[in-house]
Structure formats: C-alpha cells, structure tokens
Symmetry: C3
Subunit: 204 residues, 3 copies
C-alpha cells in the first residue's frame, strides 16, 4: 500500500518534470500533457515490457493514467506562478528518480528475479523516464552531466536489496533506500558532489 | 477489410514522411528506406508490445513490411519530382496520424480493453511514429510545435469510441473519426488553429 | 558455442562505442557505463521484445550484463591511452554491427520465423544499438551519413540466410556473413564506398 502511494507520487513528480522540460511558448495543454505522461509512465513501461509481465502496470490499473494526466495538467497551469522552474524541475526529478528506482527494484525482486537483475532494472527504470523526456525535449540527457546521477540510483537500489535480505518485509526499507538516493542527488545538485578525478572521463 | 486497407495506406503515408524528413543529400536507398520503415511500423509496434499481443502485427503479416519498404523506396525516387516537399510531408503526416490513431483505437477496443486505454493507446500509436522519425532525423518533434497535434488525435479517438458504442459495427465509423482528425490537423497547419491563450503554455 | 562467444564480443565492441561516443569531460564511471550498457544491450532487447520471447536474453543469462558492464568500465579507462578514438570507434562499431546482425538473423531463423522476418530483425538489431547510442549522445545517427551502413548489414544477413539454406548447420556460416559486413563497412569508411549517383538521395 505504501509502495502504491509512493508510485503515484513518483508518477506525479516525473510528470511535472516532463511539463517543465518540454513546455515551449504557446504549446497547448494536450501536447504538453502527452509529454508529461510519456515521461512519467515510460520508465515503468520499459521495465514491464522487458520483464514480459502479463500486463503493463498502467494498462492493468488505469489510475496511473489519471494521475499522470492530472499532474501534467496541474503542472501546465502551476508553472505560471512558480518562481524558479529550474529548481522545481531538479527537485521533482530527484524525487521521481528515488521513488522509481526503489519501486522497480522491489517489483523485480518480488517477481523472483536475482538481485543483479533487480538492481539493473531498478536503475534503468529510474533513469529511463528522464532520458525519454530529454530526448523528446531535444536537449542532452541529464545523465550526461557532470554530477552524480546513475550512482545514487545504483547505491539506493543496492541498499534496498541488502535491507530486504536482512530485514525482509520491513515497511520502511523502501523509504530508507529512496531517501538515500534523494539526499545524494540533492548534494550532487547543490554541492556539486562528484567522483575523485581518476574516476572521471578524460578528454585527451 | 476496410481497416486493413486503411492500415496499409497509413503505413505508406508515414513511410513517405520518414523519407522526406530523414533524407539527407547523398544518403543511400537502403538507409533512407530503413528510416521510412521504422517511422511507419514504429507506432504500431510500440502499441502491440505494450498490449502484450502474441505477435507484433508485421511479424504476423509481413505484407506490412513490404508496403513499408516499397512506399519508402517509391518516396526515395518520387521526392525528385515533388515541387513542395514540406507540403507533402505535412499532408502525409496528417493522413498517417488520422489513420493510425483510429486503427489503434479500434484494435485495442476489439481486444476488450476499456475506452480509456483504447483512447490513450490510440493517441500514443498515432503520434509515436512521428516522434521516432523526428528523433532519428535529429530535429525537434512536430508535437512540440504550436499547432494542434495531440488534440485532433484525442478528439478523433474519442469520437470513434462514442460511435462504436452507439452504432456498433458500422462500417464507416473509422472513416468519420479519421476524417475529423485529418481535417482538424489541416486547419491547424493552414489556418494556425490553436487554443485560446489561457490553454497555452506560458514562459515567464 | 561459437555464436555465444561472438555475441559476447559484439556486446563488448558496442559497449566501447557507447563509452567513446557519450563520454563527456568529467562524466563519472557509472553514468558512462550505463550508456555503454544501453548501447550494447539495446538492439537485442528490442529484437527479443518484438519477437515476444519468454525472457529477454540478458535477463535469462546475466553474463551479458557483466560483459557489458566490464567492457564499458574497461573502455572508460582505456580511452585515456588511445591515440585515435575516432578510428577505434568506427572499427568497434563495424565489428558490433557485423556480429549483432548475423547473430540476430540466426536467432530469429532458429525460432522458426521466415527469412524475410529474419533479415528485417537482423538489420534492425544491428543498427538499433548504434541509433540509441547516437540519440543518447545527442548527435545525428551514424546511419544518416553518406557511406554504406544499412546496406552491408542487409547483404550480410541475406548471405547468412542463403548459406543456412544450402549448407545448414555449417559452423562457419556466421563467420562468413559477419566478415562480409565488416569488410564492406571498412571499405565504406576508408574508401568512401557508396552507391551510384541515381541511388542517392537528391535535394532539389
């Protein structure tokens, strides 16, 4: 139940980033909402299709569709009164990354796959929505930036797998793991957290 | 049968837009045809994969492959004598959008899904091919423009669902719905049809 | 067994191209590795999802994940001592294109599909990873260039289908077909091999 609500919150957060990122002057509500929906539903769709589940999650439970559409529509109007869109964008993106990564990890583990598959799918689900959004908005994906992006997702997913193994079914495991991702990502944005130099890509 | 033929016409129309959009000076026939095929088959492939049908439509019936390839090859040569490529591009894109949206809506309804899933998948299928094309051609997706794009697809899909409910199995329901999309889109292109200002995205 | 090893080599080759292509100054190991993994695993994932196999290949056999990750990590450090990254990129890309096309053709034939589906899926699998890579790196896809790209993949896939029909189960059929693709592609890069003028796209 907690995971279900967190999933909905993650959908809403990513939908908002889609709207802020793709919104161009004079685009209409429906086009913007469609990008918001694709951003927020895309990652989990890729996850479910790769895992070959019987029905993609939002086909099975259309409440996800409604949440994605209504959050996009809400964001469409709300951006008019937001002072610092870039900041809201980064917070919502970090929040969505945290929730989607952990929920996907949990879902894949629950389907009986190995921890390695669960972590891989967790990270892919977490970052995929944002990549789709950035490609659709015709700008370089956020993940290509200098700050930590894949690393927090990886560490949070790993933490969740370890917690589930040692204190199984503990209600707050997902909260702990998602918090780790969110906090690391916020540090990366505000403090420019990144690796020691020898772990950074070198141009000659 | 009517839907089958309309499907083929839609494939051909989208293949032509793929060729016009991606064609760069001195690209060869096969590379251009591949982009044409991906554009025209992409939307329906995403639809079938998300719905988890047993076999994607063009794997089941390779005639679609042939139509996609031959229309692309035809367009490859035909562009040499077309006066106004941009106009042909927009007409073919509107035509493909209209047909794909309605056919997908019909297909999803026939599989027993709810109207809401049918409309969502209809719109996604209609716009997905064009988005793939624009991303591959490395230019901003058409859907990010100012004119109506997602809205006509949504309205046409909605009309089809309403017609099917009230006059089921009527042969021309799909024609009526597709015509609505095509006409609204033509108005958008030629007359700059768009929403009242408060339904447009605002930059601060 | 030979195909299994070739598959792994192909994964490694494409992972390296992903790293070279997406690597920007100061990106970290994990982000770069993720792009490398998506590049190398993407084509086959699309193939398996479209064919509707029970389990995508790297979910069934996670060794592929390890090879993709370790080659990406290796490439991340190795680029520091490579003199001519562009040349390594093109060789690795040609190598990956050759192997992936042939392996996909073989796999689809073995699943009982027709030669036409096998060739189509072979070419799509071969070029898809590179297209994903180029879109993620935010640059025009290699396939949009002037030199042969889809054509060698098509001819190699066709050769493999013909060989399998006439000398079935011959161990080296895949080697012959992959060599044809690799050699044609090298010719295209170094000698500017392309079609006669009437088979090239014309701008008016």
């Amino acid at each position: 139940m907690l995971l279900y609500i967190l999933g909905m919150v993650g959908i809403a957060a990513f939908a908002i980033t889609g709207v802020i990122s793709s919104g161009k002057r004079d685009m209409d509500l429906f086009s913007v909402a469609l990008i918001g929906m694709v951003t927020s539903l895309g990652g989990g769709t890729i996850r479910d299709v790769i895992l070959g589940v019987d029905e993609v999650y939002w086909v099975k439970d259309p409440s996800y569709l409604w949440v994605a559409f209504l959050s996009s529509a809400f964001a469409f109007f709300a951006v008019r009164i937001i002072e610092d869109r870039q900041q809201v964008f980064h917070y919502a993106d970090s929040f969505g990354l945290a929730l989607f990564t952990v929920i996907a990890t949990q879902r894949v583990l629950a389907l009986g796959f190995s921890p390695m598959i669960a972590i891989t799918m967790g990270v892919i689900t977490g970052v995929a929505g944002g990549i789709i959004r950035d490609v659709l908005s015709h700008r370089p994906p956020l993940i290509l930036g200098r700050e930590f992006y894949a690393t927090p997702a990886f560490l949070g997913s790993l933490l969740f797998v370890i917690l589930q193994k040692n204190i199984p079914h503990h209600e707050y495991n997902s909260i702990y793991a998602a918090s780790l991702i969110f906090i690391l990502r916020l540090f990366a944005i505000h403090k420019g957290l990144y690796y020691p130099s020898w772990l950074l890509y070198k141009k000659k």
